[in-house]
Amino acid sequence: MHFTRQPSAGVRVDFQATLQSARQAVREVVAWLDQQNLASDECHEWELVLAEATGNAVVHSESESPLNIEATTTTTGVEVRVTDHSTGFDWPEKTALPEDDESEHGRGLFIIESLTDRASYLRGRHENVLQLQRGRRMPPRPAEDTSTTLEVMTTELSACYEMLANIFRLGADAGRDISAEALAANWLEEFRQLASADFLTLRMLTPDAAQLERIAVSPATSFVTPFLDVGNTDLVESRACISRQDQWFDGCTVFHHADPLSQRSHAVSGVAHPLESGGEVIGVITFGVNKAHWEPKAAEINVVRSLGDFLGTLLHTLRRRDEANHSRLIKRELQIAADIQRSLLPLELPQSTTVQSAGHLTSVGEVGGDFLDGIQLADGGRLFVIADVMGKGVPAALFATAFRSNLHSHLDLAAEPAKLMRQLNLSLFTELDRSEMFITAQLAYLSADSLTLRTCGAGHGPLLMSDGIEVAEIGSDGPPLGVSEGHEYAQHEIHLKGISHLLMHTDGLSDSSSSEAQITREMLHFWLRGTSVAGMDAWAARDSLRQMHRVFHESARVRDDATFIILTRAHATIPCPNPQSLTHASR
């Protein structure tokens, strides 16, 4: 390397065509420029320009001939010439950055042109000269230096403080009793001002991760499509979500027709930034301006990225908290409904020396629609009731409650089940009809001497009875309660001489959607006859039927409420050692 200081405010450095020599030559020239009172940032920019220029010259150099840099300064500017002896290259009319942002090459000429006032490349037969000129700034005075530095530091500190203050405020807001949506709406407005943006949209992934749901927009009056399909990578926001990378757009971006950004009335530019929490993408924040081109500063982008990430994580946590609270609330409501349903059941069914009764109720889930009752009446008779409210859950439990209240209000009609059924229908019809629900029910009145049974059915399955030889069905003729207002129900009166076992049951006991594994009507007949022949008491018969129902329904994988009452005569004179007449199971 040969270094020549020229007397007329100039310098020339010759160097070999290697990258190391070129680097050293640039250092020498920049050191000289520094001595000419150029500002430090000017020197840095010249260092960059010369690094690009000499790098190019070395790369294109094919001979051993040395290259050189010549620099001169005047009171108004700096001129530098880089000379090489290669075949040279074509200097483009207009330099530009590579179309592919991630290209590893192609920025050198753009940097040279950006940082100089004039760049001309003179291509000769054996020599090429790159001539660079740039106006000179006034050398800064030391006092101004300190002042500028302090100003920059103050600005940076202020930005950091503002960011921290915002994060604390955001955290404090999230601690209040505020919905995720309200928090997002408040803060998006703040972000818009911080980022000097014209619009912002915040979307969060739906729980199934299939869609991006609009949570908040700023300005609040903007209309933005509420849901975006995450799988549609033609959409800028979906693409940010899938790629987990910022997606930039500007006036040259061709938007898909379904992209919300295409629905704005003027050109827009900005970025869609994916939000992550715990290594998972949870949403996308998009901010932009109503201009075809936008070059936000790195600091502005950092503010929105950092605060956006923080807000996204907060919202994610808040939404999970809300979902958990909602789930707890629903569970609590169902628990209350289940408690109500249990409170409707009698503690025991009425017994006598000649007739035993046992019942069972299985609820699927927390609350079912089945109901049973056994009431000892003032005339010595007993009323057995079984009912099934359409549907399950809280509404079914509420109607079961209403049914029981009405039943107990009209026990004066219990000896005439048809009249009682008509009254129940009249009392409940309006509410059932309005709710488009109905109740099937069966009432069975057993006389005080246990010899006469009067029954009435409303859309219910038949009552079965057996004398040990055959099984008879007592039909259920009328429509369910809530279907026909003022209907006159039919009543059956049966003399029970010879009858040993009777069964009242809901549809859930024998109905099943699986034809391969269900308790059919014939099976129930067979079971009841066998029970009668065996002289089984009511409790043993109840347990036997429970077991059969459990086995069949578990094998069919069908779950339904199942409720039944068994009455036994003659064989029931031996009291059960543990006479729990009513069982209740929940699944």
Binding site: L19, L48, R107
Partner: protein
């Protein structure tokens, strides 16, 4: 767990970038979700240096990771902004 930040040299330019890139690419922890390059000691960077960072960025992305640039000086940040690479790199000032 992410590996510690890779420290970039004081000058990441045409005479140093290639060797540095090859060394770092060899040493990158496979399957790291996040790799950081500490630029706080980097006084000077040129287009070759930017090319080396872009190359690492692409290598990491193929492995499912991301590259973060830590504490670049004002001059380095200015060059990144001039070449619009702040759209590509995540820049962290700690």
């Amino acid at each position: 767990m992410n590996p510690p930040a890779i420290t970039a040299p004081a000058e990441l330019c045409s005479s140093t970038a290639r060797a540095w890139k090859e060394r770092v690419a060899r040493d990158i922890t496979p399957l790291a979700t996040e790799t950081s390059v500490d630029l706080s000691k980097t006084r000077f960077i040129d287009s070759s240096g930017l090319g080396a960072l872009l190359s690492l960025h692409k290598i990491l992305r193929t492995q499912g990771g991301i590259l973060k640039l830590l504490n670049p000086s004002a001059a380095v940040t200015q060059l990144i902004e001039l070449t619009r690479l702040h759209r590509v790199f995540e820049i962290v000032h700690a």
